[in-house]
């Protein structure tokens, strides 16, 4: 199934960070590619949301909502700003 992009998680990210993030620049910790959060390859239909690097498909971010609390793992990012 086709992936969406970071625009699809704008609301979730705002929820977690309290700020609009889609225009922010992110750096992939795996391949060093730089892109806007909006350009992430996003897989929404899963036990959680997985955002991948468009260049190398490495996992950049994982968002999981458990018992009403959304946690985000950013270990796949070397930078976000």
């Amino acid at each position: 199934m086709d992936a969406l992009d970071g625009n699809a998680i704008a609301g979730q990210l705002f929820d977690v960070f309290g700020a609009e993030l889609t225009a922010a620049t992110a750096v992939c910790a795996s391949c060093g590619a730089s892109s806007h959060v909006a350009e992430f390859q996003v897989y929404l239909r899963a036990p959680g949301t997985v955002a991948r690097c468009r260049s190398c498909t490495a996992v950049l971010m994982v968002l999981v909502t458990i018992r009403g609390i959304t946690c985000v793992d950013l270990r796949g990012l070397a930078g976000l700003g």
Binding site: A46, V50, R52, C71
Partner: protein, 201 residues
Amino acid sequence: MSPISRGFRGRRRAEADPARVPPGQYVTDDFPVLSAGPTPHHPIESWSFTIQGAVDEPVSWTWAELQALPSETVTVDIHCVTKWSKLDTVWTGVSLDALLEGVETSAEYVTAFSDGGYTTNLPLEDVRGGKAWVAYEFGGEPLEPEHGGPARLLVPHLYFWKSAKWVRGLELREEDEPGFWETYGYHNYGDPWREQRYSGD
């Protein structure tokens, strides 16, 4: 609390004997595709399934070798942690008992690993005793890539995230290591009948 959306019912639910539906689940006739990443397309000529890790020597089967093994066709219910269940699904594949036959190990755990990097962990005893298969057909047809083809792990007694799509092997381990979703807060074991969705349930 959110207000009720008048007239909204969600996905059409299938009728089912409640005794077959674990707590918190809805039965569907669909087969939703849930994925954490792009569908891998590994060429079948170089495909293999390997049992490795806490063994004297890894054991490996090519696609042709896997197909040549005795297969079973089973009808099972499957339960996804995202709350949908699908009853009486028919799968064909090779039993893990057949693949593990002759494999000596002191390992108590396995990590299933897949093309694309996905992993999930299970106790070794949960893939033995007629409870698990490497499945390559669904409903009598070759398993489609979006559903895990050419072959996926099938472990229907646990939530379906444990039935790793695009499976390429099992790593036998003496110590348990949480896999992909387990690392992010999903339950380490995942018994739908005890509603073990999340860590701590």
